[in-house]
Amino acid sequence: METTELTVNGKNHRLEADSRVTLLDALRNHLGLTGTKKGCDHGQCGACTVLVDGRRINSCLTLACMHDGDDITTIEGLGEPGNLSDLQAAFVAHDGFQCGYCTPGQICSATAMIEEARAGWPSFVSDDLEGPDGLSDEEISERMSGNLCRCAAYPNIVSAIRQVAGGRS
């Protein structure tokens, strides 16, 4: 068993768990935060995306015991009913989901993606690596390619993100 101190959505937790427990399983099964979803469990679908120290990662592909002292934000930490984050509200307004299973991962991913773009990080489709030119729909799609939606709500997901990012279409 490993002892791990985690800060999740601003609250401190002391986790006692087997070394094999992933961050995803720790959040869902040990801390009861079931907003983060298990899709493929192999880093291919993005449903488990959370923010660790502000950066988006696949929580299924990392061990909880490797995150001692880390600051983790899940979908529950971004907003709640009655107090939605801008992206959460935009996904509702733009109908950016159908079954909703991928949505927590999409929103966590997009939250960090907008910050990456603001920091000037380029993407594979950026013409100019040194001065990426805003979030076009092509940029949003490329930067969100780690989040699959089997309902294929992609056009509305892009619309929701575009509204919050203030990008051009």
Binding site: G46, N58, M66, A112, E130
Partner: protein
């Protein structure tokens, strides 16, 4: 996942000593944990090196860059110096995986990522890489993603990455610290192996060896291009990729460093092909002869036969772009 003992390395010496005693390094973990869940890999001991002091990019005295082994793919691709002087490397990294994976995957770990051969991943199947001596199912099976260059009768797996392909074209070196504390430098182009009769060995690392950095030589003039051909527009491995660093002198090719991904058990460079281009005026005939040389020993295995003409077209197209003679192809 099989049970394992977890330990966090206190320092580099602690890490290499544990690895010399059969522990497996874990840093980003994005490839290793995937393989452990499938029990393709089942290390009994993991040593966590993710907090070692190897996450900086620093300027080398000769004007190059030293990329610490724990620099994430995201940080490397976004580094202002890498973007300005080694755009090929930024582009190659950004062509791989997803943003979430690049945030975890490290420079050293990415070099060590393992093949995506379907049979390597399927523990019900024979595979000489996973279970030496059991056979290779890919030779007669589904081999669309497999090697056309440098393969053996024991293994036709490919090295799947993008970052290392750019590093090979850039003549980068891997800095390795052994369990004896001694450091050595190995060109990235010599880091990965061909499978031969030991496909279980992906690279030249010995037990206890820790990658500490990748060293980029001082920036050189010329066009830098990374082209990747894959089954979907994003988040897919290369069927064929090409890293090109080409400098023109007037109307002739002054230098050409060309590396290919998705074709072999290692990023592929062909010095004879490069020599054939140097000092020559770009033309369709020249590019065709370069492709003939590159693919002279290429061999398909059925489903991957298409990679031979595909690679020819990628080479001709990229050379056209790099020499501003796009029409020549």
């Amino acid at each position: 996942m099989k049970p394992f003992a977890y330990a966090r390395a206190g320092d580099r010496a602690d890490a290499t000593a544990r690895a010399a005693a059969d522990a497996t390094f874990i840093a980003g973990g994005t490839n290793l944990l995937d393989l452990m869940k499938l029990e393709v890999m089942a290390p009994e001991k993991l040593v966590d090196i993710s907090r070692l002091d190897l996450a900086e990019i620093t300027e080398a005295e000769d004007g190059g860059l030293r990329i610490g082994a724990l620099v994430t793919n995201s940080d490397c691709a976004a580094d202002a110096r890498v973007r300005r002087d080694y755009p090929l490397l930024s582009r190659a990294i950004l062509a791989g995986a997803s943003a979430q994976l690049r945030n975890k995957a490290t420079t050293g770990g990415n070099l060590c990522q393992r093949t995506r051969c379907y049979y390597f991943y399927d523990t019900a199947m024979p595979c000489n890489k996973r279970a030496p001596g059991s056979g290779c199912q890919a030779l007669q099976g589904f081999n669309r993603i497999h090697a056309i260059l440098g393969a053996s009768d024991a293994c036709i797996a490919t090295y799947p990455g993008d970052m290392a392909v750019a590093m090979v074209a850039l003549d980068a070196e891997v800095e390795i610290e052994g369990a004896d504390g001694k450091c050595r430098l190995v060109p990235v182009r010599d880091f990965h192996r061909l499978p031969g009769d030991q496909p279980e060995r992906d690279n030249i690392l010995d037990a206890g060896d820790l990658i500490t950095a990748v060293i980029l030589p001082p920036p050189v003039a010329g066009r830098q291009i990374y082209r990747k051909v894959r089954d979907r527009a994003s988040y897919a491995f290369a069927l064929c990729s090409m890293a090109a660093l080409v400098e023109m002198d007037g109307g002739t090719i002054a230098s050409a460093a060309l590396a290919f991904g998705g074709l072999a058990h290692k990023p592929w460079r062909d010095g004879e092909m490069e020599a054939l281009l140097i000092g020559q005026k770009p033309s369709a005939d020249l590019f065709g002869r370069a492709a003939d040389r590159l693919l002279a020993d290429a061999r398909g295995h059925g489903s991957n036969d298409f990679k031979i003409p595909l690679t020819r077209r990628v080479l001709i197209s990229v050379l056209g772009e790099a020499t501003n003679t796009g029409g020549a192809a």
